[in-house]
Symmetry: C2
Subunit: 399 residues, 2 copies
């Protein structure tokens, strides 16, 4: 038994979709699913204290192995008591394997919202991939580092989160099917090496996620699912290239989900749009993560229900003298205390407080969204719930 | 009676110094003095939400007329309910007159900690001073604005704080005594015009502070004190140039304080060092303000007791693996949750959260300092209390 201190249970009652209401038990408490995982990339949610993050109803956060191994280094985090103590978070925590950042920084500049939808430029790549692992240059000082499956697991062990992820090559979208296939098979071998390294020191404190690869190709996805289903991973992440558009991402998720062994929590890597979450939930996705809610906050973007878009930009002059809160009825400090006009002023005046307030609101918003989705799954009212959050005209159809 | 909704009472028991323990009543609650006033320059304490500011024990904050009249404009603040509602602060609030910023931006770039200790360069000056007022260029768009005593009071009325201040020329240090004298007399005339404008619409919601001028010259200070004592200001601010060094500032305060009419609260403008506060308290100063505690926070400076300096800089490599909180026993979220090593990491990683945490700590620190000083005044133990905060070797003597 790999995971004595972890469990996953769920109920699925709808005849209209595959959505499920679940419960992940970890050594640092439970995660009610579907849940959103907020990105504390460098062991900090940008612009929010951990107390604020908690008070906003957050269940789980994640940090990035890539960033933390380079600065301050995983041994320092271990020395200071591990990630939980380091960043003051006593709830469940996840780290990724470092793969996504290495390859997205190697293949291009900024990761797209739809992962993999960037051009693969081998010449520009600062990453050298071999069977052994990935050789890359540090973003902090340019020094070369070799990250292997073993090293990734060792770093994640030092960091000490509850949920850890196998090391993989995050294949970009614009490569051939042949490249995607051989990359997938190498990622499978890396997954086995990750598991072996995980087993060497498994003390029950962590649980390992495998990653389904295969790009947008149904036969490759099936091959990857067969492989992952056969291994004793605690959870499964849907990764690799999810295509070049939202529609393609929905299709990939739809082709993957029915084939996954159902007794494991499934995480959809890097997806955090409101419509995308409803779509993923319908397919049975249990957890999501994305920098989106906190990143747009730092550019003035505040999540709102039933708008033309999923957020409003408070930098816009129309909010200059708006006496209303970001969203009526929202219990966050930003909405309880301040007007849109005030936050607009803060943005114009380049006051950090603007980013803090919108971040607080967006975290609260995502947690309220997920809580509402959980209730809707219990009562089989997901369609109605979706209409409360998204514009009627555009509300997504069951896929 | 100018100020029906305001009062000031105090007790002074020590035979060793002039320190006093007081109570200022305002329409938005009481201020126990001595108190520190935190700078919410643009209607926001930089890097702290108003809830955090309040939970840190803050009694009163101030905003700057100069900044707010230019952006977003006082009429907008008024339209959105006034400063209190605008920034979510329901306690006492003060605005300055705009004078200090206009003249410090005109005379030089950044205001020194000891106000006035900058070179006066008439050629560089972007300010034209006449009997009518000060003509200056906006820092936001370069447009010219004329600020007069009347306009300053009108703007402060629109903003709506409890305590407002007369418009003055903040005379720099490196000017002749003659300039200082004529500037002082013009500021006296401006003070009378401020009072007249204040009286025109006084509805009891605000109380007016006069400012003692006169630079470092004892005869001019005496002339200014005689003038201020004769007017019905609610409170008195010690302003103008306070010299080129801390010693000179202490001297100016020492020459002013015994001559002021004792029944009014006295504010020392722009002073916020720990040693300076103890020195000021001994002279009978009731309130202080300074950007120092929140500004150094944004550069990694955390206030600590009995250090070599009054703060440590958490950017320093020595804190890299320091598992201790900024200060043992401090109840702030930063000290209760995080290590110095973590905050060092955040600073290195350029995470906004570092600034939030150190700001929280420094605000808490200043409020705990002032609370301890108030108790020490009640128990006549100010010397002993000072030794708890400052290095023994350097603890200041009674002036």
């Amino acid at each position: 038994m790999h995971y004595p201190n972890f469990s996953f249970t769920y109920t699925s009652t709808s005849t209209k979709h595959r959505g499920r209401r679940g419960h992940i038990r970890t050594p640092h408490g439970a995660i009610e699913t579907p849940a959103f995982i907020f990105c504390a990339t460098k062991a900090a949610i940008k612009a929010a204290t951990i107390k604020q993050v908690k008070e906003a109803g957050t269940q789980i956060i994640l940090s990035n192995t890539y960033h933390l191994m380079l600065q301050p280094g995983s041994s320092l985090v271990k020395k200071l008591g591990g990630l939980h103590k380091f960043c003051g978070w006593d709830g469940p925590m996840l780290t990724d394997s470092g793969g996504f950042q290495i390859f997205s920084l190697g293949y291009g500049s900024v990761a797209d919202e739809i992962k993999g939808a960037r051009r693969f430029n081998q010449r520009q790549s600062a990453v050298k991939i071999s069977e052994e692992g990935a050789l890359f240059k540090s973003y902090t000082d340019g020094k070369k580092h070799l990250l292997t499956p073993e090293k990734s697991i060792q770093v994640q062990r030092d960091l000490g989160p509850d949920l850890v992820v196998v090391f993989d090559e995050c294949t970009p979208f614009h490569v051939s099917k042949e490249y995607t296939a051989s990359s997938m098979r190498m990622s499978h071998r890396w997954a086995l090496r990750s598991m072996t390294e995980f087993d060497r020191h498994n003390d029950g404190a962590q649980a390992l996620y495998g990653i389904v690869q295969g790009g947008v190709y149904e036969d490759l996805r099936k091959e990857s699912i067969d492989f992952i289903n056969d291994q004793d991973f605690f959870g499964i992440a849907v990764g690799g290239s999810l295509g070049a558009s939202k529609e393609q991402m929905y299709e990939v998720v739809q082709m993957v989900m029915p084939k996954l062994t159902p007794n494991r929590p499934v995480h959809l890597l890097g997806i955090g749009g409101i419509r995308d979450i409803f779509s993923g939930v319908r397919q049975g996705i249990d957890t999501f993560d994305c920098v989106h809610p906190t990143r747009i906050a730092r550019h003035g973007g505040a999540l709102v229900k039933k708008g033309e878009k999923e957020h409003i930009n408070l930098m816009n002059a129309q909010f200059k003298d708006d006496p209303n809160p970001i969203e009526e009825g929202c219990p966050c400090e930003a909405c309880q205390t301040y007007s849109r006009g005030y936050i607009h002023h803060l943005l114009k005046a380049k006051e950090i407080l603007a980013l803090q307030l919108i971040t607080l609101h967006n975290i609260t918003y995502m947690n309220r969204l997920m809580a509402a989705i959980r209730v809707a799954l219990e009562t089989d009212t997901l369609d109605e719930e979706e209409k409360r959050w998204l514009n009627d005209q555009e509300a997504s159809q069951d896929l």
